[in-house]
C-alpha cells in the first residue's frame, strides 16, 4: 500500500512540475518606468502611431548635461522636452524613452507613438532611446546601461519589440557622433546589436 501512496505522490509532483513549467512562460516582469506626469512632462500633441512590434532600436545620447539623481534627471528630461517641443516645434520630446544615470527610465513618447530621433526613414520603424549626457569620453554608469537593456527586454515581453529586434547606434544610420565613442563601443556588445 505504501508503494502505491509513493506512486501517487510522484504523480502529484509531476502534475505540479508541469503546472510550474507552464507558469515560467509568462512575460518577464518589467522594471518601473518614470511616467510622464511624474517627471513633469508637458502634454504630447503627437498623433502618429508606430506599427508594433517594432524591429529596430536606435540608441543615441543627448550630448547635453548628464544627471545622477532623480531630481536632476527629471529636470534634464524637462529640458530636452522643452528644447524639442518649444524650440524646435515638434509635437513632443523626440525620443521614445530617456535613460538617466540615476538608473531610471523616463517615458518619452513610449512604445506606441512614432518618435523624432533618427530622420524620416528610421523614425517610423524604430524605437529611439537616448542616454542623457555626453558619452564621447566616458561610459554611462552601469545602472543606466542595465536600465536600458531591461527596458528592451520589457518591450519584447509586452509585444512592442519584435523578439528578434536589432539595436543600432545612432551613428550607424545617420551622420552623427551620437551616441558617443564610449557608449557606442558598449552597445556593440549587446546581444541584439547588429551593425
Amino acid at each position: 500500500m505504501s508503494r502505491h501512496q509513493a506512486l501517487l505522490a510522484w504523480a502529484l509532483l509531476v502534475l505540479l512540475a508541469l503546472g510550474a513549467a507552464q507558469k515560467t512562460e509568462a512575460p518577464s516582469c518589467c522594471s518601473p518606468i518614470v511616467p510622464r506626469n511624474e517627471w513633469g512632462a508637458a502634454a504630447s500633441e503627437c498623433a502618429q502611431r508606430l506599427n508594433l512590434p517594432v524591429r529596430y532600436v536606435v540608441v543615441s545620447h543627448t550630448a547635453g548635461s548628464t544627471c545622477n539623481a532623480p531630481d536632476s534627471c527629471q529636470q534634464q528630461a524637462q529640458n530636452v522636452q522643452h528644447y524639442h517641443a518649444r524650440t524646435l516645434g515638434w509635437c513632443d520630446v523626440g525620443y521614445n524613452f530617456l535613460i538617466g544615470e540615476d538608473g531610471l527610465v523616463y517615458e518619452g513618447r513610449g512604445w506606441n507613438i512614432k518618435g523624432d530621433h533618427t530622420g524620416p526613414t528610421w523614425n517610423p520603424i524604430s524605437i529611439g532611446i537616448t542616454f542623457m549626457g555626453n558619452y564621447m569620453e566616458r561610459l554611462p554608469r552601469a545602472r543606466a546601461l542595465r536600465a536600458a537593456q531591461s527596458l528592451l527586454a520589457c518591450g519584447v515581453a509586452q509585444g512592442a519589440l519584435s523578439p528578434k529586434y536589432e539595436v543600432k547606434g545612432h551613428r550607424d544610420v545617420q551622420q552623427t557622433l551620437s551616441p558617443g565613442d564610449q557608449l557606442y563601443e558598449a552597445i556593440r556588445n549587446w546581444p541584439h546589436y547588429r551593425e
Binding site: 509531476v14 502611431r49 512614432k114 530621433h117 524620416p120 526613414t121 528610421w122 544610420v173 551622420q175
Partner: protein, 232 residues
C-alpha cells in the same frame, strides 16, 4: 486598372513573425499575389557603406547568386536604378536601400537578398534573406479582405518612401541628417479583423490549451492507473 498591379505590399514580415519556429529564423517569408509588388527595406551601416554599391540578388541552389540589379552611384547622393522589374533606391544619408520588385509572377518565388556589392569578393548580406512566395491571383482573391488591413499596417513602414499608387516623385530631402519634424500623416487604420492578427491570437491560445490538456490527461491517466491498482 488592375488594382492588384497597383497594390504595393511591403513584406515586413509580420506574417513570418507570426508563423514562428516553422520557418528558418534568419529568413523573412513573404506571400504575395501575382501582379503585386514586393518591397523590402534593407538597412546598411552609414559609416561603412554610404558610398558602396548595393545589389539585389536571387539565390539559386548549387549556383552563384544571380545579381538582378546593382546601384551605380557612389557619390553619397540619393540614387535610383531600374533593371527590368527590379527598382533599387539608395538613400545613403538615411542608411537605407529600398528594393521594389514589381509585377510579381509565380515563377518569381524564391529566396532573395540585399547585398553590398563587391564584384570580386563575397557579398556582404544586408537585412535578411527574403523568402518570397507568389501565388496565383485566384488564390489571392480569398485574401482580398485582408489585403487592405495588412496594407494599412505595412504602409507605416513605407511612410517616407514613394507610394506606388502615386507617381514616384516624392524624394527625401537629400541632406536631411537631423531628426525629422513630423510631416507625414499616415493612414492608420489597423483593422481588428485582420486575419493574420487573429491567426496569432488563435494559435497563441490553442497551443497552450492543447499542451495543457494533453499533459493533464497524461497525469490523470497515470493517477487512474495507480488508484485502480491500489484498490484492485
Amino acid at each position: 486598372m488592375g488594382t492588384a498591379q497597383l497594390r504595393g505590399l511591403l513584406c515586413v514580415l509580420i506574417v513570418s513573425e507570426l508563423q514562428g519556429a516553422a520557418e528558418s529564423s534568419d529568413s523573412e517569408k513573404c506571400v504575395l499575389a501575382e501582379g503585386e509588388t514586393l518591397k523590402v527595406q534593407c538597412p546598411f551601416n552609414i559609416q561603412k557603406h554610404a558610398y558602396s554599391r548595393k545589389a539585389w540578388q536571387r539565390l539559386r541552389d548549387g549556383e552563384e547568386p544571380l545579381t538582378l540589379a546593382v546601384t551605380e552611384s557612389t557619390s553619397g547622393n540619393h540614387s535610383r536604378v531600374q533593371t527590368g522589374k527590379v527598382t533599387l533606391e539608395d538613400f545613403p544619408l538615411e542608411a537605407m536601400l529600398l528594393v521594389r520588385m514589381a509585377n510579381l509572377q509565380v515563377e518569381d518565388s524564391g529566396v532573395y537578398q540585399c547585398v553590398i556589392y563587391h564584384p570580386l569578393k563575397d557579398p556582404e548580406i544586408l537585412f535578411h534573406p527574403v523568402h518570397l512566395v507568389v501565388v496565383k491571383e485566384k488564390q489571392a482573391k480569398g485574401r482580398q479582405v485582408q489585403v487592405p488591413s495588412i496594407r494599412a499596417i505595412l504602409r507605416l513602414d513605407l511612410l517616407n518612401t514613394p507610394d506606388p499608387e502615386k507617381k514616384p516623385t516624392q524624394n527625401l530631402p537629400p541632406t536631411t541628417t537631423k531628426a525629422s519634424s513630423p510631416q507625414h500623416t499616415p493612414k492608420f487604420n489597423i483593422s481588428t479583423s485582420n486575419p493574420t492578427v487573429n491567426l496569432q491570437n488563435v494559435s497563441s491560445i490553442v497551443v497552450p490549451v492543447v499542451c495543457g490538456l494533453l499533459s493533464k490527461s497524461l497525469v490523470f491517466t497515470v493517477l487512474l492507473a495507480v488508484t485502480q491498482k491500489s484498490f484492485g
